[in-house]
Amino acid sequence: MSTVAITSPGRPRGSALGHLGWVLRHNPLTALASAGTLLLCLVAIFSPWLTPYDPIASDVQRALQPPSAAHWAGTDQLGRDLLSRIIAATRLDLAIAVSAVGLSFALGAVVGAFCGYVGGRLDRAVGRFVDVLMAFPLFVLAMAMVAALGNRVENIVIATAIINLPFYVRFARAEVNVRRNLGWVEAARAGGESHAAVVLRYLLPNILPAMAVQISLNLGWAILNAAGLSFIGLGVRPPTPEWGILVAEGARFITTGKWWLVAFPGLALMLAVLCFNLMGDGLRDILDPRQRT
């Protein structure tokens, strides 16, 4: 081809931070979403030290107070400080989402990558299994799994991981499939690499940027899923603070005008999902320098 070489091949490496800065400067929305995500993570990590009140201790004297200087987000029907409960819930919700997505990514990417690389019978078998999984309404499947396995945090994680699995398997399979006949894959084999090494050390790192976008979008979805399960009573049990439970509990009082009980946990949930979703595209730019030149 004779298009003008716009990328200067002479650009030295080691400017990863500079690249990060460039992406964020040119994409304020990504910067905002990343800042929000960072804030969420910090809140999750330091939640025991950030809560102004004990999130579990009830004080019936102060039940159902609207937002005030003492209780920024008001109090619930048992007089617990809502802000403290929301902050405490951040840790649990993020932990569920991250571990569920981490689990399905680790398993799905590896299985999908092997399917895409090997093809043939393995690919067909896994492909059909994934099709079956996808044929269920995923949320109902998660409900059924939690109901069968028991109402515990581990089971929510497992259920969320399983319903996310098909996306990772399919994604990794497709991404590996288009790369498996590229020169550098054949070169790796000519260089004596075993098939497992080609998949794990060559192909997987190359599909990571594309998968990172999927992970980010998926995190938001996993949070919604976990909150959804708790909302219908199939997740974390009260009195443990969790966004879905907070919304579910607050929903009972919405008709009597106690709007803050639903609004604030709902807002936290919405912001978390929004941040993860917006970060997805920005993440691709950061991880793959060739996307933007």
Binding site: V4, A187, G192, Y202
Partner: protein, 561 residues
Amino acid sequence: MTIPLLRIEDLRVTFSTRNGPVEALRGVSFDLRAGETLGIVGESGSGKSVTAFAATRLLDRAGRIADGRILFRGQDVSRLSDKEMRLLHGAALSMIFQNPRAALNPIRTVGLQLADALRAHAEMSAAAARAKALDLLKAVLIRDPERRLDAYPHELSGGMCQRVMIAIAIACEPALLIADEPTTGLDVTTQKTVMDLLARITAERGMAMILITHDLGLAAQYCGRVAVMEHGRLVEEAEPARLFSAPRHPYTKRLVAASPRLDSTLHDLVAGAAGAPGGAPGGAGVARADAPRPADPAGTPLLLEVRNLVKRYDGAVAVDDVSLAMRRGESLGLVGESGSGKSTMSRLICRLIDASAGDILFDGEAIGAIPARDFHRSRFRRDIQIVFQDPNDSLNPRFSAFDSIAQPVKRLTDLRGAALRARVLESADRSGLPPDLLDRFPHQLSGGQKARIGIARAIAVRPRLLVLDEPTAALDVSVQAVILGLLDRLRRDDDLAFLFVSHDLNVVRMMCDRTIVLQAGRVVEEGPSAALFARPRSAYARELLAAIPHFAPGPPLAAIA
């Protein structure tokens, strides 16, 4: 004096990129008269495509005409409104692109796409458009045009797709046709038919043509005037006979010297390319005297013996009963067009894929019996290495140059730590790769540099047989010359055997002692390169040789034979 059809005056185009503005064109001026054919040649990045895109206002968003005028029939194209420009496109000037398959809409039939082009500029009934489309397909000499009218692009070969593109481009009888690398990616014989067709149509209809190409031979053969571009400037412009026999500008001289001709030797090429961009250290120094190798002592087994090799893919036969033999240190050329099975052969011999039938013997041992799946564990793995065609996709984007070269050494030898590092540095040095480039990633390197990494990676494990699968097909001629010189020197130094797979017959003639011509998976001719190229016996080999465009001022091919 009449107004030229197209006049470009001091055209400057800049692209805005992250690293600031890049000047793609730095003051290009030329005139094109009606009916004239102008060739624009140059290497990648010289700005030849940008010139065409600017003239047709098809620059992408990042590009901007910074200065200069483009006058089409005396009218400044850069001042036209989008609507006026649309009228001009197709009706007055049209373009043909490099990849015809990508330029055609895959879900519409050829006839409909032709009709679209016709009806965009003239009121016409569907039936009339169809009749006209049929005429156009006849004009571009498509066999069985009635049937092709209802064919989809994927049902046509690359050459036929390009003919359809030409038919679309000439549908509205434009005054100017811009062909941007119209035959790159097509086989030489197809290239010849497509170019002959273009030349005939433009002559018949009095169209002017700008032919943009990296192939000097092509420009020389089909253009009345040739302009050479370098770094966004037009450095020399003349009739091809003068330009190629007596180039004046130093860049033209280098370009002409680096282009393989019917009679050039590797030494001519490398000497000519010295000082070319990408001619980094280690490039020059090809042994001038072709000292013959001492013969192997009697009883030495052949290095490679292939017996009755067959490879079938789902019923289609890619390699059909091919046998060949190679001695140590020999270089064997494997030539043929796309679909001849030459790439399949290279992968079979490299043991990356399994054969359907036949034997492969390396050093007397049947390596064909080891499944390709397990060959990475074989002790022969390091003996057979491969250099791939496209340097861009043969390097792992996530590995630095150092890692790319070091990985096979780690896998296939016992070298570790400082010894490993020393081996990588040595291989890089022998491949002409400066050590400071070793921690760069592929996207930070040029095509020539990537090709060197591919070579360094292959020689780092000290193989005995190197399979070269079109190693220079994606490179500019000056870089190609340097890489060929480098390869030849490596072969002599290491007593390495080369299996050189290529569609470029001139390159094979220079690089190889013996040549095998493949057609549709079968060997059609085999013999010492010099004899085969001077007196081809098979009709197919003769056809291949005759199709190579050349600018040799001397006698044509027939006279050499």
